[in-house]
């Protein structure tokens, strides 16, 4: 054991310090805990409850369709039920559950103690829980959305859907997307920066790769649906006509934005599941994953290609043949990486001595069966003429359920049975086999006949169908199948409730090779192992004992607080020890405030909504004030073992917060790109001559020019203040006030350019598009203001100086982004129509 970084045995008080720092609050206050070992499993459990609820809605649909002419659900309720079923499955189950598995397992799998921003993760969980529950309950008040999970206007416009049902979707789901994005930012930072020493990207487990790609996709895809929801809500609330053709809008704009999110969404759901399979298959086959690098490449390639597929959902909208040919080809290409992975798994199963046949393996087989079938029908529907027939029929219902249940539910269930012993007690093998059998039979019996129903003329989203068209038998079979699947689902919950108990420690139940099978506690592994290969536990059989004895890195806590090791993104070289926040009420209150704000806004109670917003803001500030930017503690450095001395506080591009802020800037950038895209799309639909339409002017150039200069000036002041802070160690007194003044004046000039030209948002899609960009900029200016005031307050409190400047750096990054975004917007609004 001479090659261990820390000498053994360890001093006895070391473990106590570690345990104390990471201890959970007792009693009820345990809900303030942010540890991923608690939030992760809670998150998974909540997502599974939503799976059950949405599954029950699916069974209701099947009961209504069992025979022609049933009236179990009236048409209105039926429409709410199928809309909620789809919406919950997509937004409240699929995306959260993979994010949850990531939060629960990734730190352990990557050899880290914790995620880099545990409070953000906990906040994401709580808004999801509160918002999701409220969303589901809207069904009981008949206020659930009823326009389909795809929410196409004009049906969802104010004229055709005056009720609050649509707002429930736009606002209720809209802010749950914040949870997904917050989770994605945390995952990206965590995967790239919080790994075991020496775990290069090449040695990182596939699930880490899959979650990295997942998070990257969330960052680029979710802003599109947020923008779409915002535009539709602006149209509904204030009559800005983005989707109303009489005033220059176009219903298809929504479809482009929605599917630009919606198609990648399918892969956002599938890739993490594929990542889970790539972890389970090698463990069960006792052999390394075959073609590891190709599988990584397949994940990345799928992510890129999936953004070129959105028109697949729009083959019947009358889009020109040439673009259809392009998208059809892209659809073929994207099936190749998935096929490649399937054969890599089959090859891996063939490469071990003998495959362990247990419940996880059965779910993997079920996955391969169901997903292959769904993938093949996926190739079929990407053939344009075939899709003209199959589109919006039960053939598609069959296809999408094969892909999603096969490609995501089965792998998640495999993961549940596989990793349960990793975070707690194992589940029952006997019950597990029954669960698998019932679900496999039920799912196939439910969805296979739907292929036929579709080709016998049954469209989607209908609450009944005529007798005599040959639809009775397939529908009856589907209903029976749904009941069998329901029995399987209930048995799964029974197994979970009876057998699963979270507990620390745990052994290497399946004899797997990756780090999550090390003994794991609140603080993660006792010491952080160096990773020298892709399967460290196979290559170094004594690793678990060494880690447990504290022989590896950072066996204790340097500052006495919770800490995580931060490494360089590609090589995994240790860079610093980050102090992590612990339990707090602040993020919880912030979650209540955020959820309350959006939900109350749905019913247009403006005053309570404002109160919730103020509550959330106060809680955010408290959270930031007490839980971030600790500055230098003690000597500011410490030994982690192996002769390595690391700082406990860093700033600049090495800090994780810089990475998180950069990821946030990507989110904001892609949202803004979607807005620019919407502006240009509306121009394309209206034509040069109608942009602006006759009788409407261009934004006033002199005001626009002034706004441009003021925005850039505001950015420059912030840069200058940063330089002074570095040189003199104090924030110049004029920095924040001057920057605020310039931004405020810039925004006023921005406004004058539009209003002064006589433009009003509800006149036409042209003016609405201009004001949409102006509105968006306004939201950023408002956040920038709050951040600047906060920074000023920290400075007055003596919490910002030349060394302690994380807070300032974050504000500066956001500020520069906002200045840049404002400048781009002005160039577009003023320059583009003048160039036409």
């Amino acid at each position: 054991m001479s090659d261990l970084p820390n000498t053994l045995p360890r001093p006895p008080e070391e473990l106590g310090r570690l345990t104390n720092a990471w201890a959970f609050p007792r009693g009820f206050s345990v809900i303030t805990e942010v540890n991923n070992n608690l939030i992760g499993p809670l998150f998974v459990a909540t997502a599974l409850v939503f799976l059950l609820l949405a599954g029950l809605l699916g069974v209701l649909i099947r009961l209504q369709l069992a025979v022609p002419g049933l009236t179990i659900l009236d048409p209105d309720t039926y429409n709410q039920v199928f809309t909620t079923h789809g919406t919950i499955m997509m937004f409240l189950f699929s995306v959260p559950v993979v994010e949850a598995v990531g939060i629960a397992l990734l730190p352990a799998m990557l050899g880290a103690r914790e995620m880099p921003m545990p409070r953000l993760g906990a906040y994401a969980y709580w808004i999801y829980l509160i918002g999701g529950t409220a969303f589901f309950c809207s069904l009981f008040f008949g206020a659930a959305p009823d326009g389909g999970w795809f929410m196409y206007p004009p049906l969802t416009g104010k004229a055709h859907s005056p009720g609050i049902n649509t707002d429930m979707y736009l606002l209720g789901i809209g802010f749950i997307e914040i949870s997904a994005i917050a989770g994605a930012i945390e995952l990206i930072t965590g995967i790239l920066r919080c790994r075991a020493p020496g775990m290069t990207l090449g040695r990182m487990p596939i699930f880490g790769w899959a979650m990295l790609v997942f998070a990257g996709m969330v960052i680029f895809a979710f802003p599109a649906v947020i923008v779409a929801s915002t535009l539709l809500e602006l149209e509904r609330a204030f009559d800005w006509p983005f989707f109303i053709p009489e005033r220059g809008g176009d219903p298809l704009l929504w479809q482009h934005l929605f599917w630009f999110f919606g198609h990648p969404e399918v892969y956002i759901i599938f890739l993490p599941a594929a990542g889970m399979v790539s972890m389970i298959v090698p463990a069960m086959a006792r052999a390394p994953l075959l073609a590891h690098s190709l599988v990584v490449l397949a994940l990345v390639a799928t992510a890129f290609l999936s953004f070129g597929l959105w028109v697949h959902h729009m083959y019947t909208t009358g889009i020109p043949g040439l673009s259809l040919a392009f998208f059809a080809s892209a659809g073929f290409v994207v099936s190749i990486p998935s096929g490649l992975q399937v054969f890599a798994w089959i090859g891996t199963l063939a490469s071990g001595k003998k495959v362990q046949i247990a419940t996880p393996t059965l779910f993997i087989f079920g996955f391969l069966f169901i997903f292959s079938l769904g993938g093949l029908t996926g190739v079929m529907v990407s053939v344009t003429p075939f899709d003209w027939q199959a589109h919006d029929t039960y053939f598609i219902v069959a296809h999408l359920h094969y892909v999603l249940i096969g490609g995501m539910v089965f792998p998640v269930l495999a993961a549940l049975y596989y990793w349960a012993p990793c975070v707690g007690a194992p589940l029952s093998e006997r019950l597990g086999k029954w669960v698998f059998g019932l679900l496999f039979l039920g799912v196939n019996l439910t969805f296979f006949p739907m292929h036929f129903a579709g080709f016998m003329g049954m469209p989607r989203r209908i609450y009944t169908y005529p007798a005599g068209m040959g639809l009775e038998i397939p529908n009856m079979l589907s209903t029976i199948g749904a009941l069998i699947a329901l029995a399987g689902g209930l048995l799964l919950f029974f197994d979970l409730l009876r057998n699963f108990r979270p507990q620390n420690g745990g052994g290497n139940h399946w004899g797997a090779g990756t780090l999550e099978w090390l003994p794991n506690y609140n603080y993660g592994p006792r010491s952080l192992p160096a990773a020298h290969s892709r399967y460290p536990l196979w290559d170094r059989p004594g690793l678990a004992d060494e880690v447990e004895a504290g022989g590896h890195y950072l066996p204790s806590t340097i500052t006495g607080l919770r800490e995580g090791l931060v490494v360089s993104p590609s090589e995994g070289t240790p860079q610093y020890v980050a102090v992590l926040p612990g339990p707090s009420w602040a993020h919880l209150v912030a979650a209540v405030g955020t959820a309350g704000f959006f939900l109350v806004l749905t019913v247009e109670w403006v005053v309570p909504a404002a109160a919730f917003a103020a509550l959330a803001l106060a809680a955010f500030i408290r959270w930031l004030w007490t839980g971030t930017d600790y500055g230098v503690i003690g000597s500011g450095q410490g030994h982690i073992g192996g002769g390595i001395v690391l700082p406990t506080y860093v700033t600049g591009p090495m800090a994780t917060s810089w990475w998180a802020m950069s990821a946030l800037m990507l989110v904001m950038g892609s949202a803004y790109a979607c807005l620019i895209g919407s502006y240009l799309y509306l121009w394309l639909v209206n034509g040069d001559g109608m942009w602006p339409p006759a009788g409407m002017g261009l934004p006033l150039l002199e005001w626009g020019g002034a706004a441009l200069l003021l925005y850039l000036g505001g950015g420059a002041v912030m840069l200058l203040a940063g330089a002074m802070l570095r040189r003199r160690g104090v924030l110049p007194f004029w920095g924040m006030p001057l920057a605020l003044l310039l931004f405020g004046a810039g925004y006023f000039a921005d406004y004058s350019a539009l209003w002064g030209a006589g433009l009003r948002p509800s006149q036409h899609a042209y003016s609405a598009a201009c004001y949409a960009m102006f509105f968006w900029q306004g939201v950023h200016i408002a956040v920038a203001f709050i951040m600047a005031l906060y920074t000023q307050a920290r400075s007055w409190a003596g919490m910002i100086d030349g060394t302690r400047r994380l807070t300032f750096d974050n504000t500066m990054l956001f500020w520069l982004y906002t200045a840049g975004q404002g400048a781009v917007g002005i160039v577009l609004l003023h320059g583009f129509p003048r160039l036409l």
């Binding site: 004009p154 090859g347 053939v383």
Partner: protein, 326 residues
């Protein structure tokens, strides 16, 4: 829920016959091409699926030598890249050719028909056949002649689907989508809305009547002509009720002062096979029942109920008059 009970009674009404709404029984050249494509895809897909599952079985159960051969990069690249690339390239060439053939016009002068989707019914206008060539919820087509459908919407997005003739095409407000098709067999088919369009999306179907060209011409001529004068007292009373009850504020009847376009054109409603966009078979009783209680049969449609405002005898007279418009 109780007010939906009448739906149960309509069950036989909803009945169609097997084969009148399926892509697999092609009545025209476009649908025939897609049907062939579908069979190629189904069988090709089935074979590939079986091969994949065969490999999976081998990977677990096969003797050592076979499994070793599969545990190689060669296997993964061969089965996971080379094979799909070959198959998909072939399929791409075939399908792009087919798409082209399907969108290529076959004749210079197709018969142009405008179909406007509305919540929850269809208006058909024959653009080249003169004034009054209008109908609702029934698309009449001459056999063997290429038609060009001009598809648009009066409210939300709908989609036309007559699978025995062609794939579906959306009706989008503010746009006109065109679709060419040709029916080669005489008889009646069923079409249905396939884009979710609101509460009664389910009950938004229509009949497609393919006729010999001369029968079609005769039908058009009758369609354009003024409706006959009512011959009996009951029919005269029915026509009078139509006016008094205000039906003409929404409906049109050719040759009368009533020519509104808000609701289906009723000029020859008696000749249609179904009522309320395919929701009911067109019988005297159903016609009267529909006028009396449309919100029980198809809740949320735009037709008000007349059960309270019309006397029983007037209701029946009105139904008789409408039925006489053939």
């Amino acid at each position: 829920m109780r007010r939906l009970l009448p739906l149960l009674a309509l069950l036989p009404a909803l009945a169609g016959c097997s084969g009148i709404q399926t892509p697999l029984d092609a009545w025209g050249i476009q649908a025939a091409r897609v049907a062939t494509l579908s069979h190629v895809l189904f069988w090709g897909g089935a074979v590939i699926f079986l091969i994949t599952m065969g490999f999976l079985t081998l990977a677990i159960l096969a003797p050592h030598g076979v499994r070793r051969a599969m545990a190689s990069h060669r296997f993964v690249i061969g089965a996971g890249i080379l094979f799909p690339v070959t198959v998909l390239t072939t399929l791409l060439v075939y399908s792009l050719g087919l798409s082209r053939a399907l969108t290529m016009p076959m004749s210079e002068e197709p018969l142009r028909i405008e179909i406007i989707g509305r919540q929850y019914w269809w208006e058909m206008r024959y653009l080249d056949l003169g004034e009054g060539a209008v109908t609702a919820n029934a698309l009449h087509l001459p056999r063997g002649r290429e038609v060009e459908l001009h598809l648009t919407s009066g409210d939300v997005i709908h989609s036309v689907w007559v699978p025995n003739l062609h794939g579906k095409m959306d009706m989008i407000p503010g746009r006109v989508n065109r679709q060419r098709l040709r029916a080669d067999r005489v008889g009646t088919l069923r079409g249905q809305c396939t884009e979710f369009c609101g509460l009664q999306h389910t009950l938004m179907a229509f009949d497609v009547v393919v006729q010999e060209p001369e029968e079609f011409d005769a039908w058009i001529a009758r369609q354009r002509a003024p409706v006959p004068e009512p011959q009996t007292d009951e029919l005269r009373r029915g026509m009078q009720v139509f006016g008094e009850a205000g039906c003409g504020a929404c409906h049109a009847v050719r040759g009368t002062p009533w020519n509104a376009r808000i609701a289906p054109d009723l000029s020859r409603v008696g000749s249609r096979a179904t009522l309320a966009a395919g929701a009911l078979p067109n019988t005297h009783g159903n016609l009267a029942g529909w006028i009396a209680a449309p919100q029980d049969i198809k809740p949320g449609n735009a037709m008000p109920a007349y059960a309270r405002s019309l006397e029983g005898s007037d209701l029946l007279a009105l139904a008789s008059w409408l039925e006489s418009l053939r």
